[in-house]
Amino acid sequence: MKKRFENKAKTRRTEIAAQHNAGGAEARLSPQRRFVREISRNRYLYLLAIPILAFYIVFMYVPMFGVVIAFKDYNIAGGILSSPLVGLKYFKEFFTGIYFTRILKNTFIISFLDILWGFPLPIIFAILLNEVRIKWFKKTIQTVTYLPHFISMVVICGMITDFFSTNGVVTRLIAKLGGQNMNYLSSPEWFRSIFVGTNVWQTFGWNSIIYLAALTGVDSQLYEAAAIDGAGRLRQTWHVTLPGILPTIMIMLILRLGQVLSVGYEKIILLYSPATYDVADVISSYVYRMGLQGARYSYSAAVGLFQSVINVIMLVVANRLSAKFSESSLF
């Protein structure tokens, strides 16, 4: 047994040696021979690749091609392939329909508000947290503020519904401060604020981690130099900390802008009601309602495709802009 192992090791050794000094010789082989050699040399890797490729092809790429139903009149009996082509019919229907402006407006407003509040707050929080010098206190703050990230969306939304309902705890607080006792979640004026506010509550802690990591990378000599030059803590933050984490901020902003049309639909679907459709209905919730509750597959696939395409365009544009102005980019 041992001998066999040694033999195997020996052949392996010569193989590796051959690989090292035969770089030129390999290039001279014919394409077929090179292919065969690649397969046999990496046969185990190819074996391992089967499940991975299967997953990505079946669950990621097949749906991408399945998007052709947006250009077809999909019916269950005919299936995807034999349904008749209708071209841009469903896109036209969507663009000229009464819901187009409503859901586009809602998506942009909610997304904009979410970026406006949800993007800078984790950065500010990370910078302030970084100023906390007492170790255990810092740890405690982190433990508590990361917590909402791990609570399920269903539970969070259950809590929101309860807290903001008539006689709920937040409603009571508002009433004590002179507001009305009513169901705030079903009032169109309040829905977006509640949605964005609770979003910030859920994410500010967790999203700050990435900036905290970036902050540890800022050279401490820079702070010392700034202090010697007479900069107080505020000016150190402005002139040392912020420039130090700017690349991270830019990357995160690019990624966020690439998601501008994907408002957290799980949360919308859990929270909205017919009373608030007017201000709450976004593209993905509309896709869900039309496609899965209304079984209008082709139409909602068209709407979904519109959303994906805009997202990719936004990502590319944001990336270009960032590469131009701040020298950080994704690709």
Partner: protein
């Protein structure tokens, strides 16, 4: 007052520290109190909750009736079972597939490595969307109402895979080369060398996937039809958001009783569904942070 470097702190600096500390205490309060409040409500007597649900520091009255109701609800129990199964099997499958995927795209001398990396990254930015995926899983793969619909469509998270990839890239090549010279093949290298050396990141992955599976409900809502196969979160949605507590008050005396128990049942079911995560969370939190940081620094 002297700080570490022996420099005297300025007055402004001290004022800042005070305000900052107060601000942080405020943040702790607003993040933690809602959760504490739910716990207190769940322990309260239901009739006490009806009239006054203001700020609460201790439960109003004390009663475990709502917990009794929750645990005698067959839906919660089957939900718990399904969720546990999904968490255990799903996490195992996901972690294995993710490690293999990350291992493959970090191989040098592997012709498929680069194309696969591109293929994976592309899916982070573009996808077929909800409807084609639904049609595929439900109508073509016939996975509707089966356990597999809860696991397979989301088995690999590309984001997690890239975190893992960054971690694998940081391992020194020399160990693998030594193993190769000793006759190890690629599968042995993955399972005997790369994975044992990457235990911290595997822990992170187990936790990331575990929490995701525990909390997931949307796939279940799309694909599951039979109530006894619903995972916990979907049952919870019915209780919390569609206000369906009917199944829990069997044996209650009429409508008003149903309503009374219904209120505190909501809080108790939140606690029951969240407590497992909150109990392990403080111990694993530092791993989570590490995982995100690895992704942030190297990804």
């Amino acid at each position: 007052m002297l700080n570490k470097k022996g420099l005297k702190k300025s007055k402004g600096s001290m004022v800042f520290d005070c305000i900052n500390t107060l601000f942080m205490l405020f943040l702790i309060l607003i993040t933690f109190y809602p959760l504490y409040y739910v716990l207190m409500c769940s322990l309260s007597e239901s009739n006490a909750l009806i009239g006054s649900r203001g700020i609460m520091l201790l439960p109003k009255g004390f009663s475990l009736a709502s917990y009794k109701a929750v645990f005698s609800n067959p839906n919660i129990l089957t939900g718990y079972r399904t969720t546990l199964l999904v968490v255990v099997l799903g996490t195992a499958l996901s972690v294995i597939l993710t490690s293999i995927g990350a291992f493959l795209i970090t191989r040098k001398n592997f012709a498929l490595g680069k194309p696969m990396a591109y293929m994976m990254t592309f899916t982070m930015f573009f996808s077929g969307g909800m409807i084609p995926t639904y049609l595929l899983v439900y109508k073509y793969l016939h996975m509707g109402d089966t356990f597999w619909a809860l696991i397979l469509p989301t088995a690999i998270s590309t984001y997690n895979l890239l975190i893992m990839k960054a971690n694998f890239q940081a391992l020194p090549d020399s160990i693998e080369e030594a193993a190769k010279i000793d006759g190890a093949n690629d599968i042995m290298i993955l399972f005997r060398i790369v994975l044992p050396l990457s235990m911290p990141i595997i822990a992170v992955m187990i936790l990331f996937y575990g929490v995701t599976y525990w909390n997931s409900w949307f796939n279940a809502m799309l694909y599951m039809r039979t109530k006894s196969k619903f995972p916990l979160q979907l049952i919870l949605r019915e209780i919390l958001l569609i206000n369906d507590t009917s199944s829990m008050s069997a044996g209650g005396n009429g409508a008003s009783d149903t309503y009374l128990i219904g209120e505190s049942i909501k809080y108790a079911s939140i606690v029951v569904a969240t407590l497992p995560i909150l109990c392990v969370y403080p111990f694993i939190q530092r791993y989570f942070v590490k995982g995100v940081m690895i992704g942030a620094v190297k990804g």
